[in-house]
């Protein structure tokens, strides 16, 4: 199944070995994740869709998971690779707990670990096809970072993956400010998710919003956003171009 338009490979460093085991393209994918810092911690939103090319195959995919005591991970891209990452993190958190020394890995540490994992896989030309968002709070310090499938990583007050970078970040740049209340943060995230729902072909109207604070993580039950399709600009799309669709 090849729905990706293939383009000229930029690197001619791949040898003639049997590359059948390396990732070439993703199969089941999740779309944007959007997250922002607010007064008490981090808010993150992602829809529950798992697309198989242009088919909306899975509609209850949880793309945000709590990691350890202090972190929340959201992922877009290949779902099976996200599940693999969760297995890596399970082991990481397990070994951290086994020290039983009162210390626990914070979001900064988990983000660093994920960055190293993604970069090392990229170095072996076998990437985990995900864009990850890692948020959390530890000892009152809020943290929000992101890492891409080739290892590009940074932290900021608001981050997004995929289409979210094109559609949500501009809204966040305009309307985000320090010490947003929980209600304002949710309203802002929903605004971003609504725009994505209107304009991202792979978005579905079934989303979860997750909150992480010093007290812990809550991932909301799935719900849908109210939409409005009666904008006059949408009313007669074929106007002036009869026969178009």
């Amino acid at each position: 199944m090849n729905f990706m338009a293939s383009k000229q490979p930029e690197n001619s460093l791949l040898g003639p070995e049997a590359d059948s085991q390396r990732t070439l393209y993703p199969y089941v994918t999740g779309t944007s994740v959007v997250a922002l810092k607010y007064k008490d911690g981090i808010l993150m939103a992602a829809d529950m869709g798992g697309s198989y090319g242009s088919t909306l195959r899975y509609k209850s995919v949880e793309r945000m998971k709590s990691i350890g005591k202090h972190s929340l991970l959201g992922a877009s891209g290949e779902i099976s690779d996200f599940q693999e990452i969760l297995r890596y993190l399970d082991e990481l958190i397990l070994y951290d707990n086994m020290w039983d020394d009162g210390n626990s890995l914070g979001p900064k540490e988990v983000h660093n670990y994920l960055t190293r994992v993604m970069y090392n896989r990229r170095n072996k030309f076998n990437p985990l096809w995900n864009s990850l968002v890692l948020g959390g709070v530890k000892n009152g310090q809020k943290y929000l970072g992101t890492v891409s499938m080739i290892g590009v990583n940074f932290e900021d007050n608001h981050v997004a993956t995929g289409f979210g970078n094109h559609l949500a970040r501009p809204i966040l740049r305009q309307e985000w400010h320090e010490n947003l209340s929980y209600e304002d943060g949710v309203r802002l995230l929903e605004k971003c998710m609504r725009v994505l729902l209107y304009r991202d072909r792979s978005a579905i109207n079934k989303l979860q919003i997750a909150k992480i604070t010093e007290e812990g993580t809550t991932i909301s039950r799935p719900y849908s956003l109210k939409t409005y399709w009666e904008f006059s600009a949408f009313a007669n799309p074929a106007q002036g171009a009869v026969g178009t669709w």
Binding site: S6, N11, L24, T115, Y119, I150, V152, N153, N165
Partner: protein, 223 residues
């Protein structure tokens, strides 16, 4: 069915410009704080400058993941050096280490364009400039990154470096005072931000002199 080719690239260019200027008893290293990919700005507040040793600072632009990995690698090597020699690495020593580290990955390069700046063992400013695979040169000033084509000619005009082919060997460090050099760097970035889309947001300036290291920021165009 012909063999499938990978349709992803292990590289990306996250943009940005870096500059370093050496003086008689100081060194100025500067870089913008914008991180982009394609036509998207990822973040406006990302530092491209890394302090490798007490008197040695590196600014790198290019592919951020490779830059980060390179910085980590050098920091780790510096720590080992300190354990083994009970002293900090000098700037010329770090310069050679950086070159060797880059060439080690000659056949899968770090996509990182670096300028190294600091004080040598006599306290005189020194700047080293690199390409992605480690060829380097000690110079009086340099720029790398997306805005370097705009910045370098201007620096050449203002700092007028003597030819390294002249005899007797002439000093490449600028006779400008520290404050004048910082001002020049600010001017240079303000100009680069006008025409290079990948340069802008904020300028981070690091100055190393006998008193230590100090950091300064200046706003740049956000468009």
């Amino acid at each position: 069915m012909p063999k499938q080719q990978a349709n992803w690239s292990p590289y990306d260019n996250n943009g940005g410009s870096c500059v370093a200027v050496a003086g008689a008893d100081y060194c100025v290293i500067a870089a913008d704080t914008r991180m982009s990919t394609g036509y998207i700005i990822l973040t406006r507040d990302y530092s491209k400058i890394c302090k490798l040793a007490d008197k040695c600072v590196m600014a790198s632009s290019g592919f951020q993941a490779d830059v980060k990995a390179l910085q980590k690698h050098l920091a780790a090597r510096h720590l080992i050096y300190q354990h083994q020699h009970s002293k900090q690495m000098s700037c010329p020593a770090m310069a050679q280490l950086l070159s060797n580290t880059l060439y080690y990955k000659r056949f899968f390069p770090y996509y990182s364009f670096n300028v190294l700046g600091g004080l040598d063992n006599e306290g005189k400013g020194c700047v080293f400039t690199y390409d992605a695979v480690g060829s380097y040169e000690k110079v009086g000033y340099s720029s790398q990154g997306s805005g370097s084509t705009l910045i370098m000619p201007f620096l050449d005009n203002q700092l007028k470096s003597p030819s390294p082919l002249l005899l007797p060997v002439q000093d490449a460090v600028t006779p400008l005072a520290e404050a004048e050099a910082v001002d020049l760097v600010k001017t240079v970035f303000a100009s680069a931000s006008e025409r290079d889309i990948y340069t802008g947001d904020k300028l981070e300036i690091v100055v190393i002199n006998a008193d230590g290291i100090r950091r300064e920021y200046m706003d740049l165009r956000k468009d």
